[in-house]
Amino acid sequence: MTGADCAIELLGESALLLRFGNAIDRALNDRVHAAAVALRAAALPGVEDIAPAYASLLLRFDPRSWPDIEAFARAVRAALAQPRAVRSDDQPVGTAVAELPVCYGGEHGPDLAEVAALTRLTQDQVIARHVAGDYRVAMLGFAPGFAYLLGLDAALAVPRLTSPRLRVPAGSVAIGGAQTGVYPSVLPGGWRLIGRTPLRLFDAARPAPARLTPGLRVRFRAIDTATFTALSEHDA
């Protein structure tokens, strides 16, 4: 398993950062999610947050449960080294899949033509390559419910906008550098918008507010504007 194959950095008296590397890389990110699963299962007392990033895992804890941070670090290492029995409710990392319908181009993807020009592909080829991807939620950050996805076709990497938009519509599917993601709500943003999903990705009123969660696999499916309207969960 993950073993103790990570560096542990102190982030003050109330948090540790488990560092598996310093790169955007699927194998590294797999280890982050495996460690998160192991630590959730270990249920160490006083742990308040287990938050995966690309190549590191943040653990925030109550130092009154662990006044000696070195003792907490040892307990974390022991939990990571623990071989776990497979339980019936275990979800091996990367088996659950979310499918997101996306209306590409047109009013919902105002930057699709520019992305095609930058990548020297046709718009249909950009869509085909984006839909063909097998993505993984590497981490959430930037804003509630914003999922950074791994797995973008390298041919689709394009530079960010030089001047970010002040208001990106909720549900916009975008490419920024070698990353792709979906804006969960109206936000400022510098990624290039190639399409939009009619689904609400974040709703604070739901018990599970974020549709995309760390480690989840994601597939996109192209839909037309009529289907977008029919499926739309966005506020008018």
């Binding site: 008296e13 938050a51 509630p144």
Partner: protein, 322 residues
Amino acid sequence: MIEVLAPGLLTSLQDRGRPGLAHLGIGRAGAADLPALRLAQALVGNPPDACALEITLTGPTLRLHRDAEIALTGAPVAAEADGRALPGWTPLRLRAGSVLRLGGMRHGCRSYLAVRGGIDVAAVLGSRSQDLNAGLGPLGGRALRAGDRLPLGAMDAFAGAADHAAWSLDPRPWFDGAAARPLRLLAGTHGGLLDAASREALFAAPFRIAAASNRVGCRLDGTRLALLAPLELVSEGVVAGTVQLPPNGQPIVLFCEHPVSGGYPRIGQLAAVDLPRLAQRRPGDALRFAPVDAGEAARLLEAREQRLARMETAIARRRAAS
């Protein structure tokens, strides 16, 4: 019900925040000065997780539509109702129809107004804190505006005159008005990558709280710091008190509404016990750091929590006796 006649500079609803959701990109938010919030709640007999108003630099004007017992803690704020000046750190009883006018703060940055029964808005993801940066929480996560009507939780009617208690708390352990003591800083992952002058300046030079500071982060003016060489990092988890160094050399201390991840080098970590003291530094205030290690920072936090719990118990006894 409380009616907001004028919102003040920046007034929001705050409780202890919503921890445990960082993996969904959701920060903790909550009151910037948590001990001041808890003591305000204790003074009016509320549970520690009740919701209060966090007031920034200049306070709101509020009309009470029913009898209310209130308390003010944190930075000392000019306050009057019905022609009488109101003291802080003590329970105050006001009659329905009173207009509560909160003015400026001579020093400090944030005051807390608790009302017996609590501000009874619906919780969002387990908390009544307004995360203004994320736009999450009651009222869509926006600050209070004129015309807002804030429901109050049930309160047993108080007998006798609408008057102040005959006792009050000594604010000195809980509010550092002079803002002179250094804030304690633990080593950061990338602190060792600062150049020699910057390593020395981090603990020697006085910084100033920049005007562009808010609940997301405190930007520090003064000495610019530099790394030995530029460092490219992928985004990773951060917590309140993480001191980041962006390429412009102006450190940022992440605060209660910080995004859950960041990609700048981390040159230090403010001890959790000193976050409330950071909350009371206003733009223009000086700030110095003093080094501390994790063990000492944990002991300081534990001692503070014990003092706070003892104080809450003492206040509850005092309330029961009066």
